[in-house]
Amino acid sequence: MALLKREEWQGFVRDVDWSYSYVDDSAVFPEWHCGTGKVPREAWSAWEEDYKVSYPEYVATQREKEASAYAVKSALQRSTTFDHLDEGWKSATKMHFGGVALVEYAAVLAELKMARFGLNGAWRNMATFGQLDELRHAQITTFFGHEFIGKDAQYDWTQKAFHTNDWVLISLRNLFDGMMIAPNVVDLAIELPLTFETGFTNLQFVALASDALESGDVNFANMISSIQTDEARHSQQGGPTLEILVEHDPVRAQWVIDKAFWGSARAFAALTGPAMDYYTPLEHRKQSYREFMEEWIIDQFVHTIEEYGLKKPWYWDEFMRGLDIWHHGLQMGLWYWRPTLWWRPKAGVSKDERAWLAEKYPNWEKVFGDKWDVLIDNVNANNLEATLPETLPWLCSTCHLPACNATQSRDGTWRVRDWSLQYDGRTYHFCTNGCRQIFWKDRDNVNHQTLIDRFLAGQIQPMDVGGILGYMGLTPDVMGDDPDYEAWTKDYVGRPVEGISLAAQS
């Protein structure tokens, strides 16, 4: 064992800044990459992480983790575990692989950016480990996804998804390019490691690891638990950065957190919400999405921001109301536009499942039940065509997800509302008031054509469902379909048909 303790020498490793004399400091550290803003430059010298690590410690720990993660994999390769997994669970994993693998690689670029443009040597070193971690996550995720391609072509989207113009991917790229690659490193450290990694990845990783184990997918549980162990180290870049920013510019700190939290919440409502409340087999569900959000995100997030002297975001009430609505609306949208997905979305509305939903979400039947009844009756009348899309949904100009959030009017009815604004001679439409406000505040960066804008501008040809699916990169072997219509419609066979389905059948 080396005689000196890490703390006796690590100071030198961090003490690597000096005053430039041959080039401008502003060229080495351009403000729009470094983002010091109102924070005096010297304030960054106080940046210090809690959890320190040396290079030899890092490679020793990581080598071991890698060896055990891949060892579980190869042990399970010889078993038939995969063949017995529930389709709904498989869909959750396909969605995860496609939605996450290359985001992890985008996070490599995020870490690289902090490792290059961070205004403190200690921060740059921490991010140098961080970029290695993110490479690990990208590689382990794609490796595991790749293993299943031979069994199911939808796993091809583990790597392909981010290259396509599928609407889910445009939304995710917009969120993550905006959160991980575009911001200056101060905003980045608060958006990614602090808001996203300490908050939302907990949800995705802890919740999905638990659901994976329940569903018997030891491989997946093992993979994401192993990934999660790295987050604790590199996610701490956010804390020291926020501490310094709050001291000098609390208004900016609040805005950066508010924006990142909102964007993450929208994306998770689309992906994690349906996976937890609809795809995971009923007998394996431990908590509802809402309960998980409350336990893992909301309590922790509120605790964190209050610790730094910040307030709950301005949109808090709208967000909290959305916990009962957003992901249910999105689940219906995902299922309805299922040919545009790279997984097989389960409807998940059999009588038992509906009873569970109604218990967890008291308004569920009122807001969503009648719409699902129409779909159910059409399936039972062998009129599948009526359950398939012929048109496109309106997509929100901020989150790029379908504008499908019902809100309750004063008279008690639930309606999907349009929030809009005028900018630069055009009307923009949003799914929520929060999305509209964020667009307005950040319009120079986030103003980007939605898939619908592209369609209306004639960029997608031919202008029909086939043309749209082609533009999105969907091929017939991948296009999603319900894995088992009977599973959730058989409870309702023979009941009297009402409303729209009746009209459709006559």
Partner: protein, 335 residues
Amino acid sequence: MANRSPRTQKTWSLLGDVRRKPSTYEVTAARFHYHFRKEPAPFELDPGMPLNLWYLKYREGSPFQVDDWEEFRDPYKLTYKDYVALQHDRETYLDLLIDTHEATSSVTRLDPAWVATLRELFVPLRFPLHVLQMTGLYVGQMAPSSFITNAAHFGAADEMRRVQRIAYWTKVLANAHGDELATTALARGAWENDPAWQPLRRACEQLLVTHDWGEAFAARNLAVKPALDALLNSQLADLARRNSDEFLALLFTEFGVDSQRSQDWSSALVRYALEHRPELREVLTGWLGAWQPRVVEATEPLAAIFATAPAAMATDDVIGAVREQHRAYLELCGL
């Protein structure tokens, strides 16, 4: 609705109709930069926002360009898993080396005159080496293919490794030969003011403001780093050996393993580029034309310190050896 294809797919469809199943190295890196040459702008944000323009200018717009970067392979084919395993072995070796020398207190037997040389030549090294870390990360951040990015950022982590071991040994030297060796004032003072370091500092500062990804790669991996590595990993190791400092000789020889890996992938990349577009030779030699004189100027005053060590090496011999190693490397690159 979905017609399942009867043919079993071997790998990612984006790799085309490949006959053999690609290696894990390929599967976990191929086409990971989903934003490279994406239309109308790399990132899914306003096409005119600053970061899109930055990448369009310095990556897509770099003169160092071939039609397809995706076929480039790091000769070591390192995945993350391989990298940490490889470096864990190397670090275990360095831990043992340190243990051995600490057990015999070899540092206390160093000639004080040699310690004076180290004070001048060894202690300030963390500054330029941290620049290699930062600029290596930048090359990775801007590279057009993940096969390049990954090799570049393993290399950047290697620089952090080197800085950490140097930091450790600086403290060991200070404990044995006077606390002053461990002061920031001494290290940064020399780096900022000692005339011997100024040309290297100038080159490092210029490297930090080189934003074109091709030039950043050429300046760092073909000019500054190979010359500095030759000076440290071979010449300084040699000087240490002559001055009975076995530890430092072996330490820098060990760093030479990392430098060799850097040169192997960098030269493979240059050969790949020249094979695909021979006219890139002029682009690269153009950049080297600007950077080589800076590098020569940077190494000369440091080589002069070699002549002041108790068991000295002639300045011209050191310069000649560095130049020869650098020349041989560029020849390997096909330049």
